[in-house]
């Protein structure tokens, strides 16, 4: 028998004890008791193993200590601020001419079948800029679009069809009180800065769109512009 062979049962016993410690600690918190065999084995092991007994005691004190930690409470007025933001969303949501949408979608779907989406650029515009003229977009005749401001985020959709990207971006923009303007091969989407996190989360949901941050946001920036470049 090698030294390793002699030590293996000991390591296995410690490992088994560690596994059972949590089960033992959780047994009193609605996770069900240990089996009688495991309970007896753990008790026996802890009685004979100072290392594991110490670890079990540390663990037990930890769990009890965490559970006894005083709670963190939401700041005063938190609920009112949430409600105000929700109300603001309702009142600021742009009136949408739903009956006009099928025409746009029809055009997009027809044109989009052979189009592959490559890159979404997310750029931030400063306060007070016009709805569509803030970012000058080139590249309408083909090739990569020219973004004349540094992009703060880049969103890649390498394998998603253009029609699908368009539909997805419009849905997300609408859900965040945004506006969408279609250019030749570019969709310009403007979104309130307060919606940025939600927009990025929605874009990345599902995993097919990867968001990359390009720069730090300036405090005074209020509007996010998404540029969706298609080729």
């Amino acid at each position: 028998m090698t030294a390793l062979d002699a030590l293996t049962p000991l390591f296995s016993a410690h490992a088994r004890a560690e596994r059972l410690m949590d089960a033992r600690l959780d047994a009193d918190r609605g996770e069900g008791p240990l089996s009688p065999e495991d309970e007896a084995w753990l008790e026996s092991h802890l009685a004979s193993c100072p290392r594991c007994r110490g670890a079990f005691e540390d663990r037990s004190r930890l769990v009890q200590g965490l559970l006894r930690e005083p709670p963190l409470m939401a700041p005063e007025g938190f609920a009112d601020r949430v409600l105000a933001r929700a109300q603001q969303e309702v009142t600021q949501r742009p009136a949408v001419a739903l009956h006009e949408e099928p025409r746009h979608w029809g055009q997009w779907l027809m044109a989009g079948a052979a189009v592959a989406a490559t890159v979404l650029f997310v750029a931030l515009a400063g306060p007070g800029r016009g709805p569509t003229g803030a970012v000058e977009v080139g590249g309408a005749g083909g090739g990569a679009p020219v973004v004349r401001e540094a992009a703060d985020f880049e969103v890649r959709a390498p394998s998603v069809g253009a029609a699908e990207v368009r539909a997805r971006v419009v849905r997300i923009a609408d859900a965040h009180s945004g506006t969408v303007t279609a250019h030749d091969r570019v969709l310009v989407v403007r979104i309130p800065r307060a919606e940025l996190v939600g927009v990025l989360q929605d874009l990345s949901r599902g995993g097919e769109l990867a968001v990359t941050r390009k720069s730090t946001l300036a405090p005074e920036q209020e509007t996010v512009v998404l540029e969706v470049a298609l080729e």
Binding site: G30, P70, R85, L98, R171
Partner: protein
């Protein structure tokens, strides 16, 4: 397809028999450290899920009052989870607000296949992890607990108990040490141990929230506890 938000009903009385507004308010005032002590927020309360499904249906229909009740019911738990995860009070408030707004926008998508609290914490977990990545890219990784957290706790203890100054200081220092140790965990380990050992959720609930198999949840909690036990052994002696 663009979706217009329904106008909030201006005349939408709520069924008091189902929602028990007065009870909600009184339970909110009594909000305490654990879900079971925070009024209707316990996921193990058999009367809660049905009420919350009704509330969500009303939120989806544009009922601001129903939204208010849900926010008031869960604000402390969601905020606490966010604060534990990001370790920054201002960031946690912003994040928790976003969580509730996501709930507001997507109330109609709740199918009742899991408890409402599970669904809500799933939103909170996803948004929190995204925010942490976002902050890390800006060089603002979650770290030490900010003083405000400890000060907030200190003020509350001052109100609630006649603790002497030494005891209050010890509690504040312990709270800071606990948060610092939590912040040192990897995000996925942090989330599960906060849900289990600070929010007192079951393994099954955590599995639902994280989308992880039960065995993975258990192993992550095991590793997180091991790391915390080493870091906090002196604190919890």
């Amino acid at each position: 397809m663009l979706r217009a938000m329904p106008e909030p009903p201006t005349n939408a009385p709520m069924a008091r028999s189902a929602l028990t507004v007065a009870d909600e308010r009184s339970s909110e005032r009594a909000a305490g450290p654990r879900p079971a002590e925070r009024g209707g927020a316990s996921t193990r309360d058999p009367a809660t899920p049905m009420d919350e499904k009704v509330l969500l249906e009303r939120v989806a229909a544009g009922d601001q009052r129903a939204f208010q009740l849900l926010v008031e019911r869960y604000q402390h738990r969601v905020f606490a989870f966010c604060a534990r995860m990001v370790g920054d009070r201002a960031e946690a408030e912003d994040l928790a607000q976003d969580v509730f707004l996501t709930l507001y926008r997507n109330a109609g998508e709740f199918r009742g296949e899991s408890a409402f609290s599970t669904w809500l914490f799933r939103i909170a977990k996803n948004q929190t992890l995204n925010r942490i990545k976002y902050l890390e890219r800006r060089g603002r990784a979650a770290g030490r607990v900010p003083p405000e957290l400890a000060e907030d706790r200190l003020a509350r203890l001052t109100d609630e108990d006649a603790l002497d100054a030494d005891e209050r200081l010890a509690q504040s220092q312990r709270a800071e040490a606990v948060q610092a140790a939590i912040s040192e965990l990897a995000e996925d380990h942090r989330a599960v141990v906060v849900l289990r050992d600070m929010e007192d959720m079951s393994y099954e609930e955590i599995s639902d929230i994280t989308g992880l198999p039960l065995g993975t949840v258990k192993s992550r909690i095991h590793r997180a506890r091991s790391a915390l036990a080493k870091r906090l052994a002196r604190i919890f002696q």
